[in-house]
Symmetry: C2
Subunit: 219 residues, 2 copies
């Protein structure tokens, strides 16, 4: 058992990755970046933190190997280092949902109760679109849609939904998606749609999960 120190050093580095993940604010930054690359300012807005603080947290994420950056003029654009990062986030969510009683409670009370229909599964959506039974709307802001979206999805940011309501087809089911399973945008969208008499459901989660699953994306 000659070499024993390197293993310890290695585990310390692995812990560094986990430490970077171990903060609600940083998880939110990562979720934002899972929608597409973004500047510090945009990330600060998305997370509700000051620019300086956001920058600081981004350094911690970088030291954990989770994000990288490049310069573009005066801006610094951050992005995830690896496709594995969204999978890690999904794994953490999964463990929390299945084994932390309180998470299960929060989800039930705040999310499940807002939408009594079963969400559309990812594989299910592929079939619905292929057969023309459904149209897909992406209710995230334009910038996030532009950075990548489900193949064939139409971008209707939530704030423009009211003015577009009348132009949507009544002979198709409308499937809305946004950032992920705990993003409220798609919940709001299906609520509005149903009030106007549309058949509408949510996709089970958001764009990052779709992409992790290697399903067809545009742009």
């Amino acid at each position: 058992m000659a070499v024993i120190a390197p293993k310890k050093r290695l585990y310390e580095k692995f812990a560094l990755v986990a430490k970077a993940l171990a903060s609600a604010n940083r998880l939110e930054l990562l979720e934002a970046l899972a929608q597409g690359e973004r500047g510090v300012d945009g990330l600060a807005q998305a997370s509700g933190m000051s620019v300086a603080n956001t920058s600081h947290h981004l350094q911690i994420l970088r030291e954990g190997g989770l994000v990288q950056s490049r310069k573009e003029g005066t801006k610094v654009i951050y992005s995830l280092t690896d496709e594995e990062v969204p999978s890690l986030l999904a794994g953490i969510r999964y463990v929390a949902e299945r084994h932390l009683a309180e998470v299960e409670r929060i989800v039930r009370e705040n999310f499940d109760s807002r939408d009594n229909l079963t969400p559309v599964r990812r594989d299910e959506l592929l079939g619905l679109v292929k057969s023309g039974e459904a149209m897909v709307i992406d209710v995230r802001p334009r910038a996030e849609y532009d950075a990548g979206h489900i193949e064939g999805a139409v971008n209707i940011p939530l704030e423009f939904l009211p003015e577009r309501l009348s132009k949507l087809p009544h002979d198709q089911e409308i499937v809305a998606y946004c950032r992920g399973p705990y993003c409220m945008l798609a919940f709001d969208a299906v609520e509005q749609l149903r009030q106007q008499g549309y058949r509408a459901r949510r996709l089970e989660d958001g764009f990052p999960e779709w992409k992790v699953d290697q399903l067809p994306v545009d742009q």
Copy 2:
């Protein structure tokens, strides 16, 4: 955007899972548990911590939803809560290896340099065994072997390898595996085997990864 607090609370819980992962000692406990369930005492030995400290860290892992326990007589047996946990560990390792320069360095200097042959991939091993070209030896301690092992593997704990050396077949390649990619046992084993003139290689990683991949296991 009615509900905003629950999302924050949710992310705090997710961070709890990551916090549980964010310690070298706890990662080592999890790796030990990935070999199979185990009592506090055994885990204390495996990690080199005091029993009290081990117990304490196990509580943190439990609060993070990563481990569970059951009583068996006077013993408390811990196990991983979910098959997703080894995947999370693998994801963290993967990110660290690919994006933390120092990890890459430690691996190269301490592991790659000990074994100049390419390790056997998991899918490759299946073929080698099927055709009879290779035999598989599990060089972990008996207890870990008993808790689950690769289908058809023979258990030869490292300390018994010298006395078994003469009885191994010379017409097959010998593939050794142990706990994972950074476990030294298999490295030591192939070194001994090659010195005795055997054709021997390591499996690319260990039993937990094999199991995560849904490949055939015994017991």
